[in-house]
């Protein structure tokens, strides 16, 4: 399974990421999730979220999740980008791509990966007014 992980303050260029997609001819499904900063956090209007990470551990925990995902589903490739620092309302803080032979496993793996990330990857957010 190919892995590509980026945890960085750079904006996420979804168009460029899509343009760089590689799928072998046995693959029929690509699922994407873009998590975008909302204008409300706990019912209060915010302008941005500041993301902090324990960077080295975050990357390590993402790779552990990729290892586990590979055992569970026949995924050809995962690409994941998580922004750090200030991310304005309307901008993506998370982007995930899963490429698999069929739709069911691509959706299952993508949802599982995000659920596990929210449980295990040391990243925190602070709303900015």
């Amino acid at each position: 399974m190919k892995r590509e992980l980026t945890v960085s303050p750079s904006p996420i260029d979804e168009g460029a990421l899509i343009a760089a997609r590689k799928m072998s001819s046995g693959m029929g499904a690509a699922v994407y999730f873009s998590g975008v900063v909302r204008g409300l956090e706990s019912n209060e209007a915010i302008a941005a979220i500041d993301y902090e990470a324990f960077h080295k551990m975050a990357e390590h925990q993402f790779y552990l999740l990729f290892d586990e995902m590979e055992k569970r589903w026949p995924i050809e490739s995962v690409r994941l980008v998580h922004r750090l620092g200030k991310v304005n309302v309307g901008e993506a803080s998370l982007w995930v791509e899963i490429i698999a032979p069929h739709r069911a496993e691509s959706f299952a793996a993508c949802q599982w990966l995000i659920d596990e990330m929210k449980r295990l990857v040391p990243i925190w957010k602070k709303p900015l007014q």
């Binding site: 324990f54 080295k56 390590h60 998580h82 990330m117 929210k118 040391p122 990243i123 925190w124 602070k126």
Partner: protein
């Protein structure tokens, strides 16, 4: 032995620092380290039921036996995404 301790997210506000170091007896566990930190950082102690703990880049439980030079991190529930 000497242990480095890191705090993340609002645990830095609770303790007033991002990093500290502690002297511990040989064979001390994470629980021992927590007990020692509780005196200096009572607000951290209050959060102990929702505290996640790592040694290096791996999660560890309270029974984990620390070694000289270990870097221990304490942080609240994670919120990526």
């Amino acid at each position: 032995m000497q242990i480095t301790v890191h705090f993340y997210s609002y645990f830095k506000e609770l303790t007033g620092c991002a990093e500290t170091s502690e002297q511990l007896a040989h064979k001390s566990t994470i629980a021992d380290l927590q007990a020692q930190l509780a005196k200096r950082f009572p607000k951290l102690h209050e959060m102990q039921n929702s505290t996640l703990i790592a040694v290096g880049v791996e999660y560890q439980g309270k029974a984990y036996e620390l070694q000289e030079g270990d870097a221990v991190s304490f942080f609240p529930p994670v919120q990526g995404g």
